[in-house]
Amino acid sequence: MPFFGFRGGVHPDYNKGATSGKPIEVMPVKEGALYGVPLAQHIGAPAKPLVAKNQEVKAGELIGQAAGFISANIHAPVSGRVVALQSLPHPVSGKTAGIIIEASGEQDEILPVNVSEKFQETVLNAGIVGLGGATFPSNVKLSPPKKVDTLLLNGAECEPYLTCDHRLMLEKTEEIIKGADLIRRALNIENLIIGIEENKADALEAFGKFASSYKFELVPLEVKYPQGGEKQLIKACLNRTVPEGMLPLEVGVIVHNVGTCLAVYDAVENKKPLIERVVTVTGAVKEPKNLLVRVGTPVQDIIDYCGGFLGEPRKVVMGGPMMGFALSNLDVPMMKGTSGILVFREEDLPDLKQCNCIRCGRCVDVCPMGLIPSVMDRFVVREMYESLADWHVMNCIECGCCSYDCPSRRNLAGGFKTSKREVMKVLKAREAEKNG
């Protein structure tokens, strides 16, 4: 299988060594502990709460119903009692509606999901969302309105520090492949391609053993960030370019993260709803780990379980260092999309002192979407949203390569992220003008 690669990208220090060799450990449910379950852990409408205060719930019980087409079900991560329906701290929006459950002593049983004839319905019932970070409801992605010829499994894990997918690929190899096979058969997709970054030789080898029996192609990916970006991955493996503003579907491809495939397998074969996931806890913690954690567990508890901080923490990031969110406090709960919890001390952090753009063009060279971040930055600073639209800011995938490489430490990616809402307004207005 030829490898086509993609343009741009950066090579940050990978720092995966602390956890890449550590098997996944289960973090037990603690009796009496509070689990804060947000109703919006996915892209789309928040789920509708189905429980009342003081109600007893069982682990796996549906407590939030998908509301609308793009939404996802939420299940009780633990058995216990609902102590409150209240807002919870959220790393992005600040606050989000949620359900707080106090875990009881009885945790042996997890209620099974309703496995339906229709594959997509089972996925919906199990509350599965994209576990690579985008958290797009999987049942929607698995109901393509168009013919798909290739299912691409994303095992790149290109974000530094994170090793949760790597460990899953080693420990759950066949289950992941079976999950992918379920998707392939349900959607009648011819090709299955599994892409894994070359720095995970053991994972490549593990998958290689199944390549002929399950008939898939294994593609070793160049180690480069953002190799795991959907559009980059498709370009690199298939040499197909997803048109701007379109989904991979447009070129006949569906991309799924390996963790999502495992969740699909667990839902269909083991009737297990998505109430826990593997998260890499690393950086300045005493015992870095890959942990299987119930959704809703506060970050504080997870860090405590890893022996606490090592030294004085200065920044705690949820997700990877390139795209993750810095937390302002540790009450934030673990969510379906949380792939990492990273702790940095002052000395681990880069100097972020900004100076003027020197027009060095590094951001241009590394942007995988072919954008001109330095020029867009000028428009962001001056709030020139019309110009931002003209320079294709909506095509920005917020990968952070530009900010990463900027010697003047401009807040490029962050500025684009926050400007997009205004730019959307501009585009809507233009659309309206065109139509009448």
Binding site: T241, R314, A326, N329, L349
Partner: protein, 330 residues
């Protein structure tokens, strides 16, 4: 206060270690071979000129920022780069006030007035040079015979002409080149010809330039297209009328072309950011340099060419935006 315990900032939370002050330091480092050659050739004169330029440039920048109550950002090292390049673009032994005037024009007029680092449309060192050339043509073209370190200290400088200048005046007076052996390739290569303080040693500039390319501080596109354009165009002219000009190799090694191509045309602030833009920019610089050298009344042409292309840079950047990923032409 619990909420202020943790630093909250936008992703990415990790950054490439290279910062702007380091970028500038790399450029200075890359100029070290050229500095050494000029010190070898002009001795004490060279040391004095560099020292004056550095003191004046850094001092003026700090002073200006202080007066305007702005943060003093001298430590970004950009003024240092300007100082060294300005010194290299002066005659080997300029009077102190000439260096001061050049520094003032470079740092204050052409950089700080426009908003400081990254905001200047024109390369400050070149603006300084061109201003001085126009204001004090005699002082700016008082070349001295290159000598060794020893004689430099003894102040026995003999005034002389640069190879390009000599040939230009011969062509103007008699229509063709009279003196032969004026621009011996090996002299040009090593830098033992008279001319500006620095940059006359093609080999020293080349070492520094290749170092910058290797360290990915600059890309090869501008220097390569610039030099290639000059080589090809002067080559064609030389094939047609060899008695009227130097051969193309002499052209690319003579004068400030090497220094211009590797260190001044590649100035981030004033050159285009995209590769296509940079290729066009390099070609434009080359074309203008050849036109000035062959058909203009002035022997050099590098400074003027780069400044003219600096003026076009915003246009290039605006109209040569590359297609964004998957862009659909509408």
């Amino acid at each position: 206060m619990a909420d202020n315990k943790f630093l909250v900032s936008f992703s990415p939370h990790t950054r490439d270690p290279l910062t702007t002050d380091k970028v500038m330091m790399f450029v200075v480092l890359a100029l070290v071979p050229s500095i050494l050659v000029s010190v070898y050739v002009y001795g004490f004169y060279a040391v004095k000129t560099y020292a004056l330029a550095v003191i004046f440039c850094l001092g003026l920048e700090a002073l200006f920022l202080k007066i305007r109550k702005l943060p003093v950002t001298v430590r970004d090292n950009s003024a240092l780069v300007t100082a060294v390049l300005l010194a290299m673009n002066m005659p080997p032994s300029p009077p102190w006030w000439l260096v001061l005037a050049g520094s003032f024009v470079a740092i204050i007029i052409s950089k700080q007035v426009f908003g400081g680092l990254g905001q200047n449309p024109f390369n400050p060192a070149l603006v300084g040079r061109v201003f001085l050339l126009i204001a004090w043509p005699a002082e700016m073209t008082s070349w001295i015979e290159p000598s060794t370190l020893k004689s430099g200290f003894m102040f026995d400088a003999v005034s002389t002409a640069t190879p390009l200048g000599q040939i230009k005046s011969e062509i103007i007076s008699s229509g063709h080149i009279v003196s032969t052996g004026m621009a011996d390739i090996s002299d040009l290569f090593i830098g033992t010809v008279s001319g500006c303080l620095g940059g006359d040693s093609a080999i020293a500039v080349l070492i520094g330039g290749l170092f910058l390319i290797w360290k990915r501080i600059i890309k090869w596109h501008i220097p390569f297209t610039y030099l290639a354009t000059v080589f090809v165009l002067t080559g064609l002219y030389w094939l047609i009328s060899p008695e009227k000009t130097l051969n193309p190799l002499q052209h690319i090694f003579a004068g400030g072309l090497m220094l211009g191509a590797f260190f001044m045309a590649t100035d981030y602030v004033t050159c285009p950011m995209t590769i296509r833009g940079q290729i066009l920019f390099g070609f434009g610089c080359g074309l203008l340099t050849v036109v000035i050298r062959l058909f203009g009344g002035y022997p050099e042409g590098v400074a003027f060419s780069i400044l003219i292309m600096n003026a076009v840079t915003p246009l290039i950047d605006n109209y040569m935006r590359p297609a964004s990923f998957g862009e659909v032409k509408s």
